[in-house]
Symmetry: C2
Subunit: 129 residues, 2 copies
Amino acid sequence: MIETDHQLSTCMSILKPVRDSLDVLNGKWKLPIIVALTFGEKRFTEISKEVHGITDRMLSKELRDLELNGLVRRNIEESYPVKVTYQLTEHSKSLRSVIDSLKDWGILHKQRLAEECREYKKVKKVLIK
Amino acid sequence: MIETDHQLSTCMSILKPVRDSLDVLNGKWKLPIIVALTFGEKRFTEISKEVHGITDRMLSKELRDLELNGLVRRNIEESYPVKVTYQLTEHSKSLRSVIDSLKDWGILHKQRLAEECREYKKVKKVLIK
DNA sequence: CGGTATCCGATAGGATACTG
DNA sequence: CAGTATCCTATCGGATACCG
């Protein structure tokens, strides 16, 4: 296997966009919030109730992050009392394939680790005999 | 849009495998290390030189994590002096499509943010006039 | 209702020194 | 060469209280 500078720099160049994607999804709450908004717009307290365990502070912060990244839109209805809703943007729909890909690999990976574990137990059994 | 418990729980059930995948790739150094090992097995110091800025401590820790997740294999050649090499496993190859997916979306997302920025500048220009 | 402010502990990761 | 040990800092996220 011959490694040229060209090959190496080509490979390194994928790191930045991959990191950008990971950063957008990173943290404990981004995904659960996105899932909660999948079936239409919701109010702050509704999201809070659906995303179990999240504090107001984190929900507020994460919604702001998602808005800055163009994944969520914040709507203010000028009624009385004022009603604030959040919804996913069109852009957020493009995440679908990424999330599917991550989900599929996650499942595959778990199976792989389980197999490894069975292998280990087999070996251990033989050794004990 | 009607939201049933069934729909919601189906959607929530993707969260765990997605999180598993993200956890495997998470941290500052996992991807760069994987890339460094893409062109064949390497020794500790070789990886250290290719992954710019990583400390011995982090390289050691991250290699152990990757090994535990079955992505990297550690080989000890019983020569004199002992030679330790690291290489990607077959299982790690299955990451390819995930990384490609993340890369593609990362690029798309950057473009999307750039467009948004141009929109903003246009609006600002009009407002100044 | 839709948040913000403050404080606090846990974890990620950097710097440096040392070892078989 | 291939790491480990120790110490330090910064960021993440939880708990609680408060506000218009």
